[in-house]
Structure formats: C-alpha cells, structure tokens
C-alpha cells in the first residue's frame, strides 16, 4: 500500500483522519493543561512561601 493510498483510507480519508485528529487534540489538551496548571500551582505556592519568609 502506498502512502497516498494510506492517507486516502479508501475514500474516507477526511472522516477517518478528522476523527483521529480530534481525538489526538483532546489527548494533547488533557496533557498540556494539567501540566501547565501544576506548574502554576507550584509557582504560586513558591511565591507565597517566599513572601511569608520575608515577613518573618
């Protein structure tokens, strides 16, 4: 099977690849967003702790 045949998916290429692309995007969002949020939480807590340390 050639690569262009693979892409065409027997004529259903648009549907198959859109479906997999959407699923992929959802997976990506669900990886990136929690990691970014986690980093923000860490930075905020770090900052609060440093500030509390200064006040002492």
């Amino acid at each position: 099977m050639t690569f262009s045949q693979f892409l065409a998916m027997g004529g259903f290429g648009f549907y198959v690849w859109s479906a997999y692309a959407f699923a992929g995007v959802m997976v990506l969002i669900n990886v990136v967003q929690p990691l970014i949020h986690g980093r923000k939480v860490w930075q905020t807590l770090r900052r609060d702790l440093d500030r509390a340390g200064e006040d002492e």
Binding site: F6, M9, G10, G11, F12, Y15, V16, S18, A19, Y20, F22, A23, M26, V27, I29, N30, V31, P34, L35, H37, G38, V41, W42, L45, R46, D48, L49
Partner: protein, 258 residues
C-alpha cells in the same frame, strides 16, 4: 465486556485509595507511578494506532471508515467508566469524609467529559459517511450526549460553589443521582430509538467483529485507560499541593525542590 474489565480496575483503584488515603502518601506514590503510566500509555497508543490504521484489513461492509471505531469505542467506554469511577470516588469522599476521594472525583470529571466529547465527535464523523448525516439520533450517541450534560453539570456545580467541602459533597450527591439514573436513561433512550427507527442500522450494530478488529480495539482501550490513570495522577497531585499547602510536608517540599 469492556465494562467488567473496567470495573475490576476501578475496584483495584478503590482498595488502592483506601491504603493511600493520606494525601501525602498518595502524592509520593502517584509521583512514582506517573512515568510508568505515561510510558505504558505511549507504548499502547503507538501500537494501537499501528494496528488499527495499518495492520487491520479494511472491513467488507464499511471499507476503511470503520477504523474510526478504534478511537470512538475506547473513548465511549472510558466516558462511562470515568463516570462510574467519579461517582464511586465522590460517594466514598462523601460517606467517609476522605478528602483524597473528593480530589480524585474532581480530577476525573474533565477527563471523563473529554472522553465523552471525543466519543460524540468521532461518532458523528463515523455517522456521516455511513448514514449521510452529521448527527444521527443513534441510541449510543444520544446516551453519550446526555452523559456529556451530566459531566458538564457536575463541573459547573463544582465551579460555582466556593467552599471546597460543600462543593465536593454537593457534587457527590449529584454524581450518585446521575449514576443511579444512567441505566434508566440508557434503557429509555434505547427504547426510544428502536421505536422511531426500527429498520435502520445503528452504530451499536457494529461491523461483525473479527480478531483483527478486536486486537486493535483492546490495545486502544487499554491505551486510553492508562492515559486516564496518568493524567488523573498528575491532576490530583496539583490538587493535593493546593489543598494541603499549609501543611509542613508541602512547605518543606516546595522549599527544597526546584
């Protein structure tokens, strides 16, 4: 079929929760597990994609379009399992006042909603070439749509209540009511569908499943299951840090790490 495997996993998860009920212990354990879960997820995903998109032969009835099944079905299964898990975590947190269980429930919701949305969109993309319409009121898709509303409602309720304890317990009740209603909703929708479209094929009447189809399906399902576990751990760890920020162990952790 997949649901029973899922239930076994969830039961294991509950026992696991009980042992590691203290947030600190769970934080450390989850931290160790994430790399393993992530590696497994990546491995299973790549394998599944290869098997589903290349290795499995085209279907005699649906041609290559049936390959959408390998993303649609795992996401549909995970959307159901995640709701069950969410309800069990939430109920445990509510009944036994386990904060960690509340956090697990809260972390599961966006993942479950994503699975549901993916199931809906991929189902729609599968339906268009098969039945000619962008949306078919198929029994499974309609149930998924209602499930999506259940997830969104849960997250909206959580977001609208400021006090974390009240938010957790209120959404726990909602989740329990939802879980009790799901079989009723399923039955009603299924019945409604057969009544109005008796002759037409549905997405639930999938192409006759051969071994070549079953293997990629199972691999992809496991891939999404481990994906759920990976991101659940990541989310809960952030939540633990946030909720437990005033404890000694968290302060020490933040001071000493990067």
């Amino acid at each position: 079929m997949g649901e029973f495997g899922g239930l076994a996993c969830v039961t294991r998860l509950i026992k696991f929760t009980h042992k590691y009920g203290a947030p600190k212990r769970f934080y450390l354990l989850a931290g160790k597990l994430v790399p393993w879960f992530a590696a497994l997820t990546a491995l299973l995903m790549v394998t599944g994609l290869y098997l589903g998109l290349y290795w499995a032969p085209p279907d005699y009835q649906q041609g290559d379009a049936y390959r959408i099944m390998f993303v649609h079905v795992p996401n549909a299964w995970m959307s159901m399992m995640a709701y069950m898990a969410m309800a069990i975590f939430a109920a445990s947190g509510y009944i036994w006042n386990v904060r960690l269980a509340d956090m697990l429930a809260k972390a599961t919701a966006p993942l479950g909603a994503s699975f549901t949305l993916t199931a809906l969109v991929t189902g729609s993309l599968w339906g268009k070439p098969m039945w000619g319409a962008w949306w078919v009121w198929d029994a499974r898709l309609t149930s998924e749509l209602i499930l999506f509303f259940l997830y969104v409602g849960y997250m909206a309720l959580q977001a609208s209540i400021d006090d974390p304890r009240r938010a957790a317990h209120a959404s726990a009740i909602l989740a329990i009511v939802g879980v009790v209603n799901i079989p009723i909703i399923h039955y009603s929708v299924y019945w409604w569908h057969t009544l109005h479209q008796p002759a037409s094929l549905t997405l639930t009447n999938q192409p006759k499943i051969y071994a070549t189809m079953l293997i990629p399906l199972i691999v992809m399902s496991m891939a999404f299951m481990f994906f759920y576990l990976t991101m659940l751990c990541v989310r809960v760890r952030s939540e633990i840090l946030l909720r437990e920020q005033h404890t000694d162990w968290v302060r020490k952790l933040i001071r000493t790490r990067r």
